[in-house]
Assembly symmetry: C2
């Protein structure tokens, strides 16, 4: 199976606690109707069994749409679910191990917390970098230092990889982010906590496409 | 690679917080010198990166000894490290998923919390069952009900799989456990928290062999 075509424009990262008590599969389905182009299952506080179940539920929603499903950190869950790939951070499994386990055709993303990691990642066999937090955010427990749009632009220019901007990106500040010319924006609460996740995703996609 | 020969006599489950500040690889090396026959890396509170590093450190200690290394829960860590297999509990990945990902030659263990799970596990393609807690224990955060030696013996008789008894097993009560005729005993603090892990393992092995 070749790597699915990767449109990083609106990259949804899931968060059940931020989803206002709604079923995660429903939030994801709405986001994809609105135009989310990638979905990452990120769940830091659930059992492996539950994560596999969540992954399978999201796969059922996403498979008919062609929107790729990526699993945060848990490469084994990605394999169990038959997801399109995995995403690893600097304290997760090394991208080299993840790539070896997942095989050459899986999507693999890498979180970048600091500029020197952009340079280190030049040799990495990954499909994109997630760079952030662009702005201050409360979503992450241990946030790295804030990048700001200018340093983000520096990372975009420096890297051979497509860059997804993440961290505090909302409808009201997305223009500043897009000025840095990332391949896309990743959001958590801007969609998960929206009253209407579908129109939130549609609004973000329109802004990305206009940029 | 065929499944390594599995001697379950003294099955060490690691726990860094219970290891009195000692390096885990040193504790494991001492336990194996004393006669531990299997080692499971179990770490519930560390990053994936750190777990891979720990797994590699233990593999380095164990590989020359022939004692198999098994990784708790994290099938991806088992693959990354090149461990001999994995162990899954009832809230971890389903044994079916783990077996599919690990392949037919890996060792795979399954935790049994309740008697009905012994019967459900008859069809499971696993190499052994870990049944417990035999006695009350503080090692686990959410312990299942205590089995006691008689119910343990019932599980041993009922199952086609080798049974490892776990939970509160110490030198002073091991005789009661061995009366149930398990294939071996799994211990955490009886070795990890022993002043001398090597002689603690030796003492346990002697008692298992005498039974």
């Amino acid at each position: 199976m070749p790597r699915p075509c990767l449109d990083l424009s609106v990259y949804l990262v899931t968060d059940r606690p931020l989803s206002l008590g709604r079923d995660l599969a429903d939030v994801v389905a709405a986001a994809v109707r609105g135009g989310a182009t990638v979905v990452q299952l990120r769940e830091k506080h659930c059992s492996s069994r539950e994560m596999v179940e969540l992954g399978r539920a999201l796969k059922k929603v996403l498979e008919p749409t062609g929107v790729p499903l990526i699993i945060d950190d848990r490469v084994d869950v990605a394999l169990a679910v038959g997801a399109d790939g995995a995403h690893v951070g600097q304290s997760d499994m090394h991208w080299r191990d993840a790539r070896r386990i997942l095989g050459p055709d899986a999507l693999l993303g890498l979180t970048i917390d600091h500029m020197h990691e952009v340079y280190e990642a030049e040799e990495a066999d990954v499909d994109y970098l997630g760079v952030g937090p662009v702005f201050a955010t409360k979503t992450h427990e241990n946030p790295a230092p804030v990048w700001g749009p200018e340093k983000l632009a520096e990372a975009v220019r420096a890297s051979r990889h497509p860059v997804v901007a993440i961290g505090g990106v909302k409808s009201h500040n997305i223009k500043q982010v897009l000025a840095a010319k990332p391949a896309g924006v990743a959001v958590v609460s801007a969609i998960c906590s929206a009253d209407d996740p579908e129109s939130a995703a549609r609004d973000l996609l329109r802004k990305v496409q206009q940029a």
